[in-house]
Symmetry: C2
Subunit: 333 residues, 2 copies
């Protein structure tokens, strides 16, 4: 934009000329994977309300912050969170160097593929697995590990790469919001460093716009070189009441639009829509067993119960994947 900056008058004149065709641009459907219906209409009306100059709900571009959950909102999360597949694959890859894991729980059960026994170990077992696979290396080494995995690992049911299990309608929505001056953020319970290596390519969301759970890192000098090492110690859990905290900590602005799919997103939607002015809260409802999965109130993953009960009174829109989405996944390569 250097050239534009140096010639503000010329640039302004040309921009004005280009914008004459604004009405035409607006009539192009930016959300082709969404069926015409209440959900799509709500999105378009909200965007119009906050972007149209002179609108009583106009929001300055800098304040147009939209936050998105990741698991079950931007990509699928069944039969388990995809990060759990990453953990399983890493434990398998590291096992040769850890002969003791053959008899030590929860590693032994995981290596035998007995996920039920792993889950029986509860949170403590899960944390052990997380730390064994996510800590103990430099931040750069971990980024490489995730990058290698995400470009090769495949979903057990669909055989797709996990990045091919991202939702086409949500990617259109992200692009549509950005085209209307929004800054889009991920706010996920997943590991922030598990997401950053691939979300820029998958969703157009840069690393600095990813809020997530994290372990601690430590700055060290190694052979005179600065290194950040990942420690086996929890830093932050970005879930439930942690989501507004994470948003405040990292973004420092209150969002005006929030998208989730489970009760883990309840506080984030409440925080976003609990301020005056036009606000958009949406819950993606997994009700399409044929094209994806159907689960809500009783699911162990992505449980959506309170959200369904209170969406109406809180003014949140429940999006039916079955009825509102023409397509579910992005095309395979």
């Amino acid at each position: 934009m250097n050239c534009l900056r140096a010639k503000p008058l010329l640039a302004a004149a040309l921009a004005g000329f280009l914008c004459l065709s604004n009405a035409v641009a607006q009539s192009v459907d930016s959300l082709p994977s969404w069926n015409d219906g209440a959900a799509k209409a709500r999105i378009v009306a909200f965007v119009k309300a906050v972007t149209e100059p002179g609108s009583k709900d106009f929001v300055a571009p800098a304040e147009r912050v939209a936050v998105f959950d990741n698991d079950g909102c931007l990509w699928a999360e069944q039969p388990v969170y995809f990060q759990a597949f990453f953990i399983r694959d890493r434990i398998k890859a590291l096992a040769p160097k850890h002969p003791e894991w053959k008899t030590q729980e929860p590693y032994a059960s995981l290596l035998k593929g007995d996920m039920k026994a792993v889950m029986a170990g509860g949170e403590k077992a899960l944390m052990q697995l997380v730390m064994s696979t996510h800590a103990g290396m430099s931040t750069e080494a971990f980024t490489q590990i995730v990058s290698d995995w995400i470009t090769t690992a495949r979903h057990p049911k669909t055989g797709r790469l996990f990045t091919e299990m991202t939702y086409a309608p949500m990617k259109e929505l992200l692009a549509y919001l950005r085209a209307n001056g929004f800054k889009t953020f991920i706010v996920s319970g997943g590991g922030v460093e598990f997401m950053r290596p691939w979300v820029e390519q998958a969703y157009g969301i840069p690393p600095e716009q990813v809020v997530g759970s994290s372990i601690k890192t430590k700055f060290e000098w190694r052979d005179g070189k600065p290194v950040l090492t990942r420690l086996p110690e929890l830093n932050f859990i970005d879930d439930k009441a942690g989501k507004p905290v994470g948003i405040h900590q990292q973004i420092g602005r209150r969002p005006i639009a929030a998208f989730g799919n489970s009760d883990g997103d309840f506080e984030m939607l409440a925080w976003t829509t609990g301020a005056p002015g036009a606000r958009l809260g949406m819950l993606i409802h997994h009700d399409d067993a044929d094209r994806e999965y159907a689960y809500d109130r009783k699911s162990h993953i992505g449980k959506l119960d309170r959200g369904l009960n209170e969406a109406g009174t809180r003014g949140w829109t429940v999006v039916s994947m079955k009825a509102d989405w023409k397509t579910i996944f992005v095309p395979t390569r």
Copy 2:
């Protein structure tokens, strides 16, 4: 940019036309408050190296992350960090509600203006004062308190608003980097919520691009409304070895340019310049007693000792405020 998006071919053609005058734009001095010299030449050469298409050091716009310390780098920090004046003013404002402070340390000494006695209380006393003034209210209430203070409080020596003690050459540098596709971040030991309310106006840096020290916040329901409350508990100290950690946590990219002024910035500069490719590390040296302050190796605030010793071998540029800066402060309103 909606209109541009809809007409990509036309837009590209016009952008190309505008950029014909690129050479002219480049010849305009974007850093008029900088004297011609090694420091200015280094900045311009670095920006050219990372932005010129085909340059061996070219860096994609998304990766152009520049980090700036705040105290002593973007604004002054003498005779004490400006946040200390905020603390003093808040203690005074709150004192009527706390009659016990008249005899209780460190409050009593502070209210009497005996800063030496306050400092004698060490870190414990300082933390007490921080928590008494920064915690116990909602995040929104705190933002309002800071906003009210920053628009009225004045520096004891210059009589200027504190935002008028920001450095003109650094503001030009921020704008110059942004015009060249950089994303500019503050990475400061100061409180992140103390900075966010005013840095957007002062420096053009939005809240989500501010990394700083923080206390914990807690999500609560109050009368059915979601509230974030500030707790009297440290969350993160963004100083020294904490700076690369804070950068990694919030930005998630390794910067290619870093600007500081004290040994508190040493690790940040080392982390930034310790990767391959063109990197820029700069230390602002306070050597102008006439126009600002002169201090370095033995100062209690903004001590710069190791940085001066190692700048040469690490390839960092030491900027002399006296020799390199035509102007120090931004104009008063």
